[in-house]
Amino acid sequence: MVERSLHACVDPLCLSKVHMLIEDLWAETTDVAVIDRFLFESAVLEIAGNIVQHSVSDYEILCNLVLRVYETRLEAVFSDTAEPAIVDLESAALPDHLAEHGRGLAMTKLAVDRLSYAREGSLNCWRLSRTRTG
């Protein structure tokens, strides 16, 4: 198992840090199939973007991200200190083709096999898992 982690302030600049973390992960796990890389990265960045977009606060919000590559799956766990997120994963679906918003969670669900959100103590926790195709 290969692991990378990031602890950062939640702001738009942290998205670049997430991309760099993923690039670093792929540099060590060269056997992960391209399609898995693309879909997993898309899913991780959608959740990261969701956290950034909805974490509006007077105080600094922190987020911890752990990425893991196992033999058969890819996993990401986000924990952030924002107020409880209002999330309805069950009903997240692709909107009308001409919609300009509302695709993020649906895209994430399509790109991974498991997606969950839970409030754990004072933290919002998102978990994503994608079974590797190769």
């Binding site: 670049s16 991309h19 879909l39 898309s42 959608e46 083709h97 001409l98 300009e100 649906a106 895209m107």
Partner: protein, 110 residues
Amino acid sequence: MKFDVSSPRADAAVIRPCGRLDMTAAPELRDLVTTAVRDEARSHVVIDLAATDFIDSSGLGSLIGGLKVARNAGGDLRIACPTTQVTMVLELTNMLRILRPYETVEDALS
């Protein structure tokens, strides 16, 4: 994110995002399309995606927004040269019919 903008003919604009078209870059793309269409009367817009390493749902939303602005002005927005990641996102979201990729900018302009 850098955007290169060119005007190959009087009624057209080519906008080339360079880097990641995500929530931080999407507003600027919308502004560039709006400027081209409404301020410069260039209602035929081509987004050259050859240098777009990554697109997310926000970036996709900005393409749709630009498409609507262009069509409302009697024109259109087309995409050209999408990278593999961009094509994957378009397939994942069933957007290939509405944002049909062209192989070259020239094909998209014709």
